[in-house]
């Protein structure tokens, strides 16, 4: 009896291993590239300096879900990439956010330049209306493309009409309109930044922003517009 029980255990273990291997074959886990025939929108999440690209942790997923809800675009997971990582060039859209100041190395600047020239797009958002990140972003991105600097995007820019028609986006805590800022390469918008906690708005419903910045609805609309613009221009 005891021996039979041991044999049965071995049998069950082997079965489990075989089933597991079979499942791995059917559902490959280690998909290394983002070049999937099933998805069209995938995002890189920029890791820079000391951050892990994890501020407002689920913002990437939330952004992709937003896009999928309002369109036929299927979504895939986000992937965290360093700017010097060759995998950067596997994704035409990267998201960068944070609270604090940062400095990009020369290699990162060079990689970003190449990324923009090749057709990549960056969406950046300062978290919780903290001014340090937006200031750093403007300073660092002004180093990327010679002769080009970050400029405000007026409301007649197509990005405000790429999906939703946004006539104006008003700040929640100040009496002013929110304006996106952008960096251009040969007339093509390659990077957009919102300093008013857009990611906090569409991802955290502004709970981390304590009612500052933009409304969640405006945040969601801006995010979708930016994503659709990036895919169409």
């Amino acid at each position: 009896m005891r021996g039979g029980y041991g044999v049965a255990r071995v049998g069950w273990s082997l079965s489990g291993v075989i089933c597991g291997l079979a499942l791995l074959c059917v559902f490959p886990v280690f998909a290394d590239d983002l070049d999937s025939g099933l998805s069209t929108f995938f995002m890189g999440r920029v890791r820079y300096n000391d951050t892990d690209g994890a501020d407002c942790g689920d913002v990437g997923k939330d952004l992709m879900e937003l896009v999928s809800r309002v369109s036929t675009v299927k979504v895939q997971e986000e992937r965290r990439v360093m700017l010097t990582d060759p995998a950067l060039f596997e994704t035409p859209f990267v998201f960068m956010n944070g609270h604090n100041d940062f400095v990009l190395s020369d290699d990162e600047i060079s990689a970003l330049r190449q990324y923009f020239v090749h057709g990549g797009f960056m969406f950046a958002s300062g978290c919780c209306t903290n001014p340090d990140f937006p200031q750093a972003w403007r300073r660092e991105l002004n180093r990327v493309l010679e002769g080009e600097s970050v400029t405000p995007l007026a409301y007649d820019h197509l990005i405000y009409r790429s999906f939703y028609r946004l006539e104006r986006v008003h700040s929640l805590h100040e009496d002013r309109d929110i304006q996106l800022e952008g960096l251009f390469y040969q007339g093509r918008l390659v990077a957009v930044m919102g300093e008013d906690g857009i990611c906090c708005a569409f991802s955290e419903d502004n709970t981390c922003n304590q009612g500052r910045g933009v409304s969640p609805e405006d945040g969601r609309r801006l995010a979708v517009n930016i994503a659709v613009y990036a895919m169409t221009h």
């Binding site: 025939g37 069209t40 929108f41 369109s71 036929t72 675009v73 035409p92 057709g119």
Partner: protein, 771 residues
């Protein structure tokens, strides 16, 4: 029976004796049954015998016909006492492989070996010299000629020899190097020799390895280019028998002045090309000439040292592209980015972003495409090319699919369908769109497989196509080696017959070989293409790639698709080698336009005029700078001006005869004088004789084998007697032959006889009251 032939015997045989026996057996059974029937009914013996004999004749005749009777006649020729001797005096026979020239060797062989032996054997000799045609020579002294013929026409000489006298020759002996370059009449000549029983006896002179030659065949360049656009001017060269590396210099002259030069090294015998990269900033027309200058290559013969072409620099016609996406993907963004540098290509995007929503981009009027994909030909007509991305036939109505078919076939529009596995599945089968695309779909609903990373493999056809000349410098296809890997693609079974395959998967095989990833075909007046690589935009994003190459590819691809049918009239050349003092044939075909409400003819004016004529052989090169050389001349009197009626779909063929080498322009002007089409062609004299200088024993052996003759290299045929012995044996065997069998019994007389017998039996039965 031909003249000089004598009949030996005639016999009738059955081709199907077993069929005859079976039919005869059946006939006997029928007769026995008939006889028994008559006996039972008490028919008088005489009457029964008469009826049975009539029926028996019918059945016997039919049985014989079942056996398929044929009449065979064996003949033999009356004794033939003359041999036709053909001596090749074409230019290739002037070459001296080792020692005397080939012609001198052939002449010597004929005079010292062959003719004396023929005389000793009591055989007469009919002498002929041949090159482009055959010429009878009355006596051996007539063979003292210079070998300077421009062509080698063995077939023509043979035909002349066979037909010159009432009695065909005993054999035809050809003293030649076998390098025939005029072969139109070969089939007739061989057929005649076989029919007459005249063997072909050949002695091959020369060496089996030809002389090294280099020929500048032609210069390829776009007929028209835009100011500021880089284009390639490609010299097509051909080398034969070049064992050692040779250095040659290619000089590019622009309007008579040295513009660029390149030194190239080449070895081996094959065609090759070398390109110059040019950019013209001002509108106008320029004449380009390339000169080939050997740099000290010993023994190398240059057969054609110059080639020229005219290129018109003008603003490119604007091209509108309609890009339709079934879903929001990255492809449109990157294609639109690629086109930004060319303001003459305007792209309009139509994307389905939701179940009920579409996204329009770059429309040119407020209401354009407001309801989505065009539903009328007028809505589609402003575009020259349509791209369907991630779209399947089910996403368009039957009317819209038919509209696309008309857009391509009648208006000459271009169509590109692109996508991955989700796009290219069996859902296309049976759709109207399936007819347009150059690929064959699988019957399986979804052909799947494991997607692994791979490198695209471009075919030779693609690498030679202007669409893929995407490098800023030569070689213009170099950026293609930097393509990233891809992993997802649509699996189709094959390309359609006649389609060009441009890309294949390196390893994945379908029913017809390695999977096709891109194919192109003509469809009516337009061009359609299919690209099955998903996420093609990754080429531009890849860190190692050159975005400009990607951009150039898309601009060139869309122009190719959109301009295939842009000209109102297409000028086609029938011949690929154009030479002076020969007829040049070309065709004009008018394309249908949406404004052509009536399909009637319109009157066009066709003009042919020289752009440049070579005044003299090019002057020796001394650069920097070129002294003298060909200069473009202003328009001289046109050679041909003709008013012709052209109807859509009905081409008209014209000819002209250029007297001198040079560039000629064919232009077609529509009603009101507007230019409808233009094309320049180069007419040049190439020494065809020296293109192939190797002795061609294989060709001579083929002739000998087909006529039951002999082909020997000259070094194996030291004496004429050896040749004559073989000649006699072959000649006798060839002359004793069977004439073609002819069936007998199948004709009007047989039918009439059978009918008469049957009618006769019927009348007798009726008269005697028998059933």
């Amino acid at each position: 029976m031909l003249d000089g032939e004598r009949k030996l015997m005639t016999e009738v045989t059955l081709q199907l004796p077993s069929a005859f026996r079976i039919a005869l057996g059946f006939a006997l059974v029928v007769l026995l049954l008939s006889a028994w029937s008559h006996w039972r009914r008490g028919v008088p013996l005489a009457r029964a015998a008469l009826l049975l004999s009539l029926r028996g004749c019918v059945l016997l005749t039919l049985s014989l016909l079942c056996g398929w009777p044929v009449r065979q006649t064996e003949t033999t020729a009356v004794e033939r006492r003359a041999v036709a001797v053909l001596v090749d005096r074409s230019e290739s026979m002037a070459l001296a492989d080792t020692g005397p020239t080939r012609y001198a060797q052939a002449h010597d062989f004929a005079i010292r070996q062959l003719l004396p032996v023929l005389e000793n054997e009591g055989l007469g000799a009919r002498l002929y010299l041949f090159a482009e045609d055959g010429e009878a020579v009355s006596d051996p002294t007539g063979l003292d000629r210079q070998p300077d013929g421009h062509r080698t026409n063995i077939a023509g000489a043979v035909t002349r020899a066979l037909g010159d006298a009432a009695t065909p020759p005993l054999a035809v002996v050809a003293l030649t190097d076998g390098a025939a370059n005029q072969t139109e009449a070969s089939v007739q000549a061989l057929s005649a020799m076989t029919h007459l029983g005249v063997p072909f006896i050949a002695v091959g002179f020369g060496r089996d390895r030809g002389f090294p030659t280099l020929t500048l065949r032609q210069l390829d360049a776009p007929a028209e280019t835009a100011p500021g656009a880089s284009f390639a001017l490609t010299a097509r060269l051909e080398a034969t028998a070049i064992d050692d590396t040779v250095n040659v210099e290619l000089l590019l002259l622009r309007d008579g002045r040295l513009h660029q030069s390149q030194t190239i090294s080449h070895r081996g015998a094959r065609p090759f090309s070398q390109s110059f990269r040019l950019t013209e900033t001002e509108e106008g027309e320029h004449h380009y000439e390339v000169r080939l200058v050997p740099a000290g290559a010993r023994g190398l013969r240059i057969l054609a040292a110059t080639a020229q072409v005219a290129v018109r620099v003008a603003k490119q016609p604007e091209l509108r592209v309609l890009y339709v996406q079934g879903a929001l993907t990255w492809d449109y963004k990157f294609v639109a980015t690629a086109l930004r540098a060319d303001p003459t290509i305007r792209i309009t995007g139509l994307t389905r972003t939701g179940a009920q929503s579409i996204f329009r981009q770059n429309v040119e009027s407020t209401g354009e495409l407001l309801t989505g994909f065009p539903t009328t030909i007028e809505q589609l007509a402003p575009f020259r090319a349509v791209v369907l991305s991630s779209l399947r036939p089910g996403d368009l109505s039957a009317e819209q699919q038919e509209l696309l078919a008309r857009f391509c076939s009648e208006l000459g529009g271009g169509l590109l369908v692109m996508g991955g596995a989700a796009t290219f599945d069996s859902g296309w089968k049976g759709s109207r769109l399936e007819d347009l695309v150059p690929i064959v779909f699988s019957d399986d609903r979804a052909v799947g497989g494991i997607d692994q990373q791979f490198h695209l493999e471009l075919t030779e056809t693609a690498l030679r196509h202007p669409v893929f000349r995407i490098g800023a410098t030569e070689p213009a296809t170099a950026p293609l080696s930097e393509l990233p890997t891809f992993s997802h693609y649509g699996r189709v079974d094959d390309a359609k017959p006649g389609a060009e395959v441009w890309m294949r998967h390196p390893t994945d095989k379908g029913p017809a070989g390695r999977r096709v990833l891109m194919a192109v075909q003509r469809y009516g007046a337009g061009v359609t293409a299919a690209l099955m690589v998903e996420n093609f935009w990754r080429w531009r994003m890849a860190g190692d790639s050159d975005p400009a190459a990607f951009d150039r590819f898309w601009r060139q691809l869309l122009r190719h698709l959109g301009q295939a049918g842009v000209a109102d009239v297409a000028i086609g050349l029938t011949d690929d080698r154009l030479e002076p003092e020969t007829e040049v044939r070309f065709s004009l075909e008018r394309r249908r336009r949406p404004a052509d409400n009536e399909a009637g003819a319109k009157v066009f004016e066709a003009r042919i005029e020289p752009v440049l004529s070579a005044q003299s052989p090019p002057s020796p090169v001394s650069h920097p700078g070129i002294q003298g050389g060909s200069q473009p001349i202003s328009r001289s009197e046109p050679m041909l001006v003709r008013q012709i009626e052209l109807s859509p779909g009905s081409p008209v063929e014209l000819t002209f005869r250029p007297e001198r080498p040079g560039l000629y322009r064919i232009s077609v002007h529509g009603p009101g004088g507007a230019l409808a089409a233009t094309r320049t062609v180069e007419v040049k004299a190439t020494d065809v004789e020296l293109l192939e200088t190797a002795r061609d024993m294989e060709h001579l052996r083929q002739w000998a084998a087909l006529t039951n003759g002999i082909a020997l290299p000259a070094e194996e045929c030291e004496t004429g007697r050896q040749l004559i012995e073989g000649l006699r044996h072959k000649a006798e065997a060839a002359q004793r032959r069977l004439r073609e069998s002819r069936p007998v019994g199948f004709g009007a007389w047989s039918l009439a006889a059978l009918t008469a017998l049957l009618v006769g039996e019927w009348l007798l039965r009726k008269t005697w009251g028998l059933r």
